[in-house]
Amino acid sequence: MSALVVAHNTYREAIRDRVLLGILVAGFAVLALTQILKPLALGEGLRLTVDLGLSTITFLGLMVVLLVGAGLVSKEIERRTIYNLLARPLPRAAYLAGKWAGLSAALWCVALALGTGLATLVALMGHAGYVGAIIEAVYLEGLELTVVTAIAVLFSSLSTPVLSALYTAGLFVGGQWCDDLRRLATHFPDAFGRVLTVTADVLPDLSLFNMRTLASNGTPTTLGHLLIASAYALLYCGCALALGAAALESRDFK
């Protein structure tokens, strides 16, 4: 219950922050740009629209996570606004969960808004058959952003906003290479291969949330993929938040 109060407040903060509005405007501007570039694409306009539209959602969402999420907890500690909350009967873990949930909700709103815009645009281009795949791709991108937000909140409980943003960005990049790491592990002897495999397990497997190639061709993914990705996202977020709660539990607010 108290986590929901914190979540609502965090959501309110994100919505009232002009960064989010700028992100939405930029996203719709990119969608408009795809229509301007369409004549240059020699018949590949649909592909260009879908690919650019989906990539925009991820990268703009990532920008919000790095600008807002990485400082979510550390800024509260720095500004001492956290005193007013933690001196109440609010468990620190609930506080952290609330911060994550609030920012994630704001990011889902962004993804939904831009995803709806993209699906509408593609339908207006006469390819309504692509809408299903686009919806699935946007859902997976929303999950991806939720996972990255949990990572940002974890680092935010441990470090300054700048370092948190760097670590989060680093894990985002690393998370795109999990498949490559696993493949690489098979080429090395046992011990080092094991190290690579464990690294791939620890990094967030963000390729699980990537169906952009399928969406580009209007091909939907399987229900199994969606369920596995959802379960993975939930588990990874839970793990990251638990670590963050452990870090925050031992922290003194001088």
Binding site: V5, T81, N84, L85, A87, L90, F253
Partner: protein, 352 residues
């Protein structure tokens, strides 16, 4: 700006000290709103590994329903103590209870209202939104939280600006809002760190009234302050902490009577006289327009001094005993504590 009055708004529910379940602890402890036993706090630098002491073996008890003043110079450990009680800091050793509940439990803060020193708020919220949020965090339901938020916003004189965003609040307005936030859920215990900070004389007057009002309702108030006249006026008991150690605790009357009083002797006109050697330390002369003021710090010399004045044909107008002030006690205690600290080798002090 004056605080609002209670008459035309929904008053908070009446509070009685005995309300609420007893949650454990010895019988003695249940009588105390705040209990601290052998509380210590040290800080260790991550780089140099040097240990600095914030609090040392503090033992304290605040009884239910009393107003308790917590005094000390800057860096004495007042804020450290209050932060340990409110769960923001973890003690190095020792224990503390709020209303019988150990402070490490989240539930110990259920009936607590806390105002930190120089409170900070979310500047994108307005006053009403902020109070509703903290009311809900303190356990009030949606409608209740809204009602109480509106009531307390009016009570602290901010009702006309309910929708003003906090980034536009002045320092005094923020302090009032912080007080409202501490009171919105009708707590049984108030812990206030420098509640008069940033307020003009009107504001301070209103905060004093508010504290007295809470005492009437049976709320326990523990507050730290540098403004000693306020402490003298408001507090049932006072503790003085110096260098992380509790130096004195007692009622204001008990403490100031230890000091003894000085005597003020007023004489007409300008006086040119040499004070005899035995009384030179105790007797101070102060010339004022039309009169001369003698202050005798040691009342034991009163009779011989008066006799000498009469003999010297001084025109004595008035002889007035002065009650010992808290400020004098405070300064004397601080000096004595500092002197004894200087005699021993101790770890460096650090404040929260």
């Amino acid at each position: 700006m004056k605080l609002g009055t209670v008459q035309n708004s929904t008053a908070p529910a009446e509070f009685h000290p005995a309300r609420g379940p007893r949650t454990g602890g010895a019988d003695d402890r249940d009588e105390a709103a705040v209990r601290v036993e052998h509380l210590s706090k040290s800080y260790r630098s991550n780089w140099t590994l040097r240990v600095t002491r914030g609090l040392e073996d503090l033992n304290l008890e605040v009884r239910r329903g009393e107003v308790f003043g917590y005094l000390g110079p800057n860096g004495a450990g007042k804020t450290t103590t209050l932060k340990i009680l409110t769960g923001l800091l973890k003690p190095t050793s020792g224990q503390a209870w709020l209303m019988g509940e150990p402070v490490h439990r989240v539930s110990s803060r259920r009936n607590l209202g806390f105002l930190p020193e120089q409170p900070y708020f979310y500047d994108y919220l307005n006053g009403l939104e902020y109070l509703e949020m903290v009311a809900k965090l303190s356990g009030l339901g949606g409608a209740d939280a809204g009602r109480q938020a509106r009531h307390w916003l009016g009570r602290v004189g901010l009702g006309a600006r309910a929708r003003l965003v906090l980034r536009k609040y002045s320092k005094g307005m923020l302090q009032r809002l912080g007080l409202a936030g501490a009171l919105v859920h009708s707590p049984e215990l108030l812990i206030l760190d420098e509640p008069m900070s940033g307020l003009d004389p009107f504001g301070r007057h209103d905060v004093r009234d508010l504290i007295l009002e809470q005492r009437e309702r049976g709320v326990t108030v523990l507050f730290s302050s540098h403004i000693l006249p306020d402490v003298e006026t408001l507090c049932d008991r006072v503790a003085i902490v110096i260098g992380g150690r509790l130096e004195r605790v007692g009622t204001v009357s008990e403490l100031v009577s230890e000091q003894g009083g000085s005597v003020e002797i007023r004489c007409a006109g300008a006086v040119v006289i040499e004070v005899p050697a035995p009384w030179r330390q105790a007797l101070r002369l102060n010339e004022r327009p039309g009169e001369t003021l003698f202050t005798l710090s040691d009342p034991r010399f009163l009779q011989p001094v008066l006799a000498w004045m009469v003999e010297s044909r001084l025109a004595i107008h008035a002889v007035t005993p002065q009650r010992g002030a808290l400020e004098q006690l405070f300064l004397a205690t601080a000096r004595s504590a500092t002197a004894s600290t200087a005699e021993t080798t101790e770890p460096e002090r650090r404040s929260a």
